[in-house]
Symmetry: D2
Subunit: 350 residues, 4 copies
């Protein structure tokens, strides 16, 4: 039973391969009478678009969305919203050599093992390009969050070992890394250039803060808010770890250190990361995602082909050096999709 749908009330279904004619999304369960235009979505798509800086891939795609249904005279109608983004600038022939070989760190081997057939062109369905549909869906989800007053801030916390030292939101969109610390951003840029020369790639950490989330969202016991956020964020290709609030630091703390005291004006600290017993507590929600380095590197790597014979591979071409920054709006989108779903679920639950 396949897994291309996310959400229970606000449901996003995505489809499309990297080098097919198009990719897209169907959103079912969006309430009626919300204002929505293609421009709203294009704005978000622009943030994850390849080719927006020297730090990201040179594949140039306008990534303009077309709304095919579910919107009438600028408003959602309550029927499914179908979004399509046509693929352009596709150089499939460049992938011909990869038809018979498994790239390390990619899904080539596992897709072959699972399906017995594989669209090898650009990673097919496993391509990061798939996330464009998530970002488009997230832009629609934001309309629901707007009505509640929820804001989702996503940013680079760490890249190639360089860690942010301040959260100065005014810088967030001033640099190509979605980095709230301009000094760190400068060091990150240098780190990216250095590793590029080595034909290697970098990992990092994305952090998300959700502001304005009311207490009461989340559905015990398996659909706890943090549990579904963990699924949402871990479902992004490059993510290897997810933390809420104190995260792995919690393992080394004592109860007296970790418990957030309640006061008449709110929680005195936020180790909980805004979620207690799987339900939002009204405080800021804090999520972190560990992002692995891009597996496509120019350095020569050891691998095998479909016949199991040893091969070497060097992946040139127009690849990013890190999933960051392009993954930042994707993580934000998954958080938005999760929250929009829980906002609607709570309406049914109350």
């Amino acid at each position: 039973m396949s897994g291309n749908t996310f959400g229970k009330v606000f449901r996003l279904t995505t489809w499309g391969e990297s080098h097919g004619p198009a990719l897209g999304a169907v959103i079912d369960g969006c309430p009626p009478r919300l204002p929505l235009t293609a421009a709203d979505i294009d704005l978000e798509l622009a943030r994850r678009r390849p080719g927006t800086s020297i730090h990201t891939t040179q594949r140039r795609e306008p990534d303009k969305v077309e709304i095919l249904s579910g919107v009438f005279q600028g408003q959602t109608t309550g029927t499914p919203i179908s979004l399509i983004i046509y693929n352009q600038d596709v150089k499939s022939e460049a992938y011909e050599p990869l038809k018979e070989i498994f790239r390390p760190g990619h899904g080539d081997f596992t897709y072959q093992a699972k399906y017995g057939i594989r669209d090898h062109r650009g990673g097919g369905r496993a391509s990061a390009r798939e996330t464009a549909a998530r970002v488009a869906g997230g832009a629609v989800a934001q309309k629901i969050l707007d009505a509640v007053g929820i804001t989702v801030l996503a940013y680079t916390l760490e890249l190639g070992g360089v860690r942010v030292r301040q959260l100065a939101w005014e810088y967030l969109r001033e640099n190509p890394f979605f980095c709230p610390d301009p000094e760190a951003a400068t060091i990150m840029a240098a780190r990216v250039q250095a590793i590029k020369k080595q034909g290697d790639s970098l990992g990092g950490i994305v952090e998300v803060r959700v502001q304005g989330c009311p207490a009461g969202l989340g559905e015990p016991v398996f659909d706890k808010l943090d549990a579904v956020l963990a699924q949402a964020v871990m479902s992004i290709g490059a993510v290897k770890g997810v933390e809420i609030g104190s995260g792995f630091d919690a393992a080394g703390l004592t109860g007296a250190q970790h418990n957030d005291p309640l006061t008449p004006t709110g929680f005195a600290s936020n180790n909980a990361g805004g979620i207690l017993a799987g339900i939002s507590n009204g405080d800021e929600i804090i999520i972190r995602a560990a992002v692995k380095p891009i597996p496509s590197i120019a350095q020569t790597q050891q691998t095998i082909d479909r016949q199991g014979r040893p091969q070497t591979i060097s992946i040139g071409g127009r690849h990013d050096i890190s999933a960051i920054p392009r993954i930042v709006p994707v993580v934000a989108a998954m958080v938005k999709l999760t929250l929009a779903d829980f906002v609607l679920r709570q309406k049914a639950a109350a």
Copy 2:
């Protein structure tokens, strides 16, 4: 829309409050003709049972399961398997003082915010006691894994800052901590005793290794194997972070360091943690869960009551010092439930 069911084909629904008459589970989607007895389940329940060592709570419950349906003459029939565990040794009056006050680090505040009503006795639905039903479900899931040859090993990797230095499986059940390193276990025991005197509690890390999992399990894109494992593990009350394979360490590595080379005899390393592009790759699956310290501590804490007035609270009674070790079989159960579901999903997908 509530969230008390886990899984899509192999589905576990749990119910029950800490101080109600009983708690239980209904398993729907279990294939017919698998051998199953109450004793199979009791064995797993014994592992998470309170009162099995001085390190865990003194509430003594036999935790014997009764199978009410779905099994005929020792075999599953394909119909829903209903499991019930009666609550005993319930001292509800001890919780009377907590009726009007919110315990820090617990779900008291958020349950009240969400539902406007709360069974305050022993944490109600938010009690760790709920996990007994998960463990029972996991014992049934194991029957499906047995047929495939999948083994799930769960153990304490870290407790109160004490880290395991070796994985010697023969010691795993020799100490009360499910700790594969006897020396570490001895230090952990001392650490627990020391913190107990301080009226405080400890966090830690649980690690799970899945052996014998075939390549091909997991459903792109949102139901990636790692994504659903993340939800499964994060849905356990005390968990604040989940990692797969390299986890957060991946953020500091380069692609050349992180990629696992493929060789004719398998992967040369396992930073992937057995999962690539959301699909098992045939290697060992490695999952880690960060466990926060138990929030119920004897030390005096600052909090508020239902009227929002400041209060202090000191939680005495028979509480554990750490969710570890009792959480270890719970994490194992959630991994088993996830894998059993994906084994059956793959049968439908192939």
Copy 3:
């Protein structure tokens, strides 16, 4: 993937075999703070109870429900409501001869074909006894309908060819047939006695009218209100046909005859049966279910055994002559469960 759960927001999961220790239901998604007692449910269970009249089976079961979770101090808490009904008066040995033989018109053959194993005692999971859990669930659903002002009236429209000629609600509970026409009820009683002497059984038609349903319930396109009602009602063992409003008569009408004109004070007729384009229109919802004759009859029938050899069978014992009247509250329950789910779904959709 099994199908023991009904509903998407208000979800009923049932379990249990005819001759197991108990049967029950778990209701997930019931809003908090609704008043609920076991007595509310017992009242509904009494309506479908065997042994309430000479026209129904002599198996005598008190059918008292126990609420095991989800209710605290007389109110629902928003957590799963677990209901259990213990089986009593079970004479399993009477079914021993049926272990190796397939009863005509029953699920014996198909359960064996599907599962390769079968609890033959009293029909196991396929027994009409399973519907007790539906009726219990329907009693909880009614609490949600109460808040909206929805009333569900179910009654016998036809039994053994005897058709009701008037809908006089005051007689509905005055006779054992849930029959709103006392004269018809008298003829039905005679018909039942006559067929009983012949060792045969009777079919009939149940009609349901839903009053007070607001316009706007139902989810196009596949979860139309009439579509899900059709599934709900057809999922009851003996039902072979479902109609909404004009039903099969619509096939013979013209558009001018069938269309219900709209007027400032409502629809001028109700061929729609209260549902247009899958959405309730505010008018009375009308559903009819065709009920086949009970397949267990004393007359000798031709059949085969598990080895495929020809056999004859005569089924004596304490069987009903018709699924009517006991099926009437079951049909009502399925309609209630459907409507409660759509009431909550609409809250999330608006």
Copy 4:
């Protein structure tokens, strides 16, 4: 929670309005390595296409599908199959007068009541045009049925009171009514012409026979095969009743008449319609659907506008006289989609 997805393992999600730029479907859960081309789907679409005979609407649309994903080199890949059909020949301005008025028998009133907004052009989402996406999905489902050897035959059983007297399959595609009785077809044609002159429309009955279905499909208790077939067929706009096997005739029969005796060579009769206790019994599956007359008629009808004021309406234009024959392939498609889902579900269940 919206309802634009059908199926649990083989899942069809449809989207699109009558007068939007396109409509389409996403199929998730289709197994890999099945042969599939756009031509396979176009063949089915041609059967329900408007303008194929004088008996159907004059809107002329080529209805060519484009496969946007999930198929690689002529084979399914296991990833979502996205299908798009562009709308052409759209005369939206013809619907301008209907913006403020509710057409009797249509969803205009209920869509407005539910959503508070309505795409009035051509019925919007409630248009029968939506069923093109179902037929496209059914063509994909057929690929799964092919592998099992299941054939679905759908035909007109009755139109405008004219009933088929023989099932001569060789005539099925010889007349525009999918009518297996050439004499009946001739009378039907005359009946259609006569009613057209009166500015009125006709209803009818569609029957489906499924051949080659193995025993064992269907999931008790709520997802019985007949229950889900009932939902599937009733979810088609014009359907007011669904029968399985004996259907409403069962109400008037006795058990001795209705039970199908089992013999060493199969069932001696088929009142069950191929389904016992919700599970296929290996016999021919028989389903009937009552189809109401097309509500759009030229005759003057009484109605109201959005302000609730009385109005009259006469609907001219290019409307069909009956949903038959165009609904016939739609009913077939829904049956195929249901069976394909249960075939895959049984793989997971066994």
